[in-house]
């Protein structure tokens, strides 16, 4: 595909007529504008953006500072005419209607179904949406499958084309990344594709990484840690199970005595009562002994009692109160004591009756105690049983969550082990594929070095190898004081890709770089680069477009190499006057 012409629907726009080979767009800055931001300049970046826009770039986002957003609402429409293997096609896209691409001319080269021709209009236009359009471009330039058939992570036209139209600030940081900070899989897939390696390996590798991420939902441990934890859990499980078996045994052989607690209480109370009775019996026995000795000692009629002594004492202590004679007292005493003996015996009998009653009660209590204890020994209380069941229940719960954790860890370990195996396998496949495709890779590597040899007189290495987790793309550049060697490596890489693709019969056939590419590059190197590019445009049938600030243009050096720069200047933009800018008006 070659750029032929770029125009717009506004008069002020400076139509660009591209050369088939080398195209230099010169940006002249006058004295006045030297200090201003290049973004507010003459439109050299805008030129790139418009070309990108016509080739399927996402439409301007309202409010976004850069890009064509400033043209929103301004009724701008751009037309890009391209040459597809000798036949021309024009693409028209409006800034305010970014979803539609109008194609005119020989668009059948894109593989799109033509609209029915009529007499008036043998080549009618056709309108396509963004998806169909970029699919068609992808098929044309890179031989890509349409989106419907595309697998996950497969390369897309827009991503690959970024390597052939670089103008954003972050597009020149790494040769292998066309857009700043891409997701990890993009450079992997894009570069393997462009270099001619089996890019399916890269997409599969990414899918393996995705699997690895979902596994971390099960746990963050590595295989060894998971195994160690599993060991602990398994042994805990064994202990738990044997504890459960013991509990189950206990529960199943447990005989619930419903009245257990009541019996326990009765036992206690019974013991207390038995103690009390025993105490009382002791006291009563003592009393009986006392009375019995009194019975034995007395003669039954009270004659043994010392009435006389009492009479004498009373006479002494209470003389005026004693109103009876001793004889009267004696008679009274005998009278009263006639029955003393029978009183004593009655007492003894009464106490004995009490003793017998108590002893009977004691015996009954003892019998009950024996019976109760025997009953209690037969089983256990209901609450003990309930507690056993509760313990069993919570042990079962613990077992369940243990099992869950074990299953989880096992899945994690198995998943990681399987993944590790597959990762090793894919690494092998990548290495094998790389080794087998060395001949395909060789032209790119050679071209890369050649570019540096031409510019710096020293070779440089483009290194592609397989790391443990992905493909590794690196460059080894000659040590050079200049700042710009990194940018040149981007140029060299893109050239290598163009060269490699051409050898394989595919590729967009065009390459465009913003002036950033020569930022910090010596004039001599810049001139040599342009000389090299000039040669390539002929040999390789490559169209090259670059914008250069007029201050940096290596005019003299080019002349020294026998090249007249002006011959290849496609367009000169100047900020001396608004009409000198690309859009022709000030923004």
């Amino acid at each position: 595909m070659k750029l032929v012409q770029l125009s717009a629907n506004k008069e002020s726009f400076r139509t660009v007529h591209f050369h088939t080979g080398l195209n230099i767009v010169l940006a002249e800055r006058t004295q006045l504008s030297r200090e201003t931001d290049s973004r507010n300049g003459v439109g050299k970046t805008t030129l790139m953006q418009i070309i990108d826009f016509c080739l399927g770039a996402t439409g301007p986002v309202a409010g976004a500072g850069q890009g064509l957003a400033k043209l929103s609402g301004g009724d701008w429409t751009f037309n890009l005419t391209v040459d597809l293997n000798g036949q021309q096609m024009m693409i028209t896209r409006a800034v305010d209607d970014g979803g539609t691409f109008t194609l005119a001319g020989h668009y059948e080269a894109l593989g799109l179904d033509p609209a029915e021709p009529t007499l008036e209009d043998p080549h009618p236009e056709v309108k396509v949406g963004s998806r169909a359009y970029t699919d068609a471009l992808g098929s044309l330039c890179f031989g890509l499958e349409p989106a419907k058939l595309r697998e996950q992570y497969a390369p897309t036209f827009r991503q690959l084309f970024g390597h052939f139209l670089r103008y954003r600030n972050d597009a020149f940081i790494s040769p292998f990344e066309a857009f700043g900070k891409p997701p990890a899989e993009q450079p992997q897939v894009n570069n393997t594709f462009l270099l001619g390696l089996d890019w399916h390996i890269a997409t599969e590798w990414q899918r393996l990484k995705d699997r690895g991420k979902t596994l971390t939902a099960l746990g963050k441990q590595g295989i060894e840690d998971a195994t160690a934890e599993l060991g602990e859990l398994e042994s805990r499980r064994v202990r738990l199970q044997s504890r459960m078996r013991a509990l189950e045994d206990q529960v199943s052989t447990f005989r619930v005595i419903p009245e257990y607690r009541a019996l326990e209480i009765r036992l206690n109370e019974g013991s207390r009562r038995m103690r009390d009775i025993t105490n009382e019996l002791t006291i009563l026995a003592g009393q009986v002994e006392l009375y019995q000795s009194e019975v034995q000692a007395s003669s039954g009629d009270g004659r043994d009692i010392d009435v006389e002594g009492l009479f004498e004492e009373a006479g002494l202590a209470l003389p005026s109160q004693v109103v009876r004679t001793l004889e009267e007292v004696r008679k009274f005493h005998v009278n009263v004591n006639r029955n003393r003996r029978s009183y004593l015996e009655g007492e003894i009998a009464r106490i004995d009756r009490t003793r017998h009653k108590l002893e009977a009660e004691l015996r009954a209590l003892e019998d009950q105690r024996v019976a109760d204890m025997s009953r209690l020994s037969q089983g256990g209380a209901l609450d003990e049983h309930s507690k056993l069941q509760q313990d069993l229940g919570s042990a079962a719960g613990e077992l369940q969550s243990l099992d869950q954790r074990i299953a989880q860890l096992r899945a994690l370990r198995a998943g990681k082990a399987a993944l590790r195996k597959e990762e090793l396998a894919i690494q092998d496949r990548a290495q094998l594929d790389l080794d087998e495709r060395r001949p395909i890779l060789a032209p790119a590597i050679q071209q890369f070095s050649t570019t540096f040899e031409r510019l710096y007189g020293e070779p440089a290495d483009l290194i592609v190898d397989v790391g443990p987790n992905n493909y590794r793309f690196q460059t080894h550049l000659p040590r050079d004081g200049s700042h710009g060697i990194g940018k040149i490596s981007v140029l060299a890489y893109d050239l290598s890709l163009a060269h490699s693709l051409r050898m394989r019969g595919v590729g967009p056939g065009l390459l465009a770089h913003d002036s950033i590419v020569f930022d910090g590059v010596d004039e001599r190197q810049a001139a040599r680069a342009l000389h090299l590019l000039l040669g390539l445009t002929t040999d390789e049938d490559l169209q090259y477009l670059v914008t250069i600030n007029s201050d940096d243009a290596p005019r003299t050096e080019l002349e020294g190499l026998g090249i007249s720069m002006d011959q290849h200047v496609t367009l000169t933009l100047t900020d001396a006057d608004p009409s000198g800018s690309l859009l022709g008006i000030r923004f």
């Binding site: 009375y291 009692i305 009435v307 009492l310 109103v323 009876r324 009278n335 009263v336």
Partner: protein, 75 residues
């Protein structure tokens, strides 16, 4: 034995017992009934002390017996 001394406390002395028994006196009681009453209410009352205390109460003219019934008189 009549009066309390170093060995015999007041409640155990005959005088003390007599005073307690006097408080329990009722009309028309037999000696046995009176004995039961006193024995129930007065701790440490033995047959011997009961007898002596009753003798003392007789000596003091506070009680007499006829046909087994005790008559209490107040001087």
């Amino acid at each position: 034995m009549l009066l309390p001394d170093k060995y015999v406390s007041l409640p155990r002395s005959v005088l003390g017992q007599a005073a307690a028994m006097l408080a329990l006196s009722r009309t028309d009681q037999t000696v046995s009934e009176y004995w039961n009453t006193c024995r129930d209410r007065i701790e440490t009352l033995t047959q011997e002390r009961f007898t002596l205390a009753l003798d003392l109460l007789f000596m003091l003219g506070l009680v007499e017996v006829s046909n087994g019934i005790l008559n209490w008189t107040r001087p």
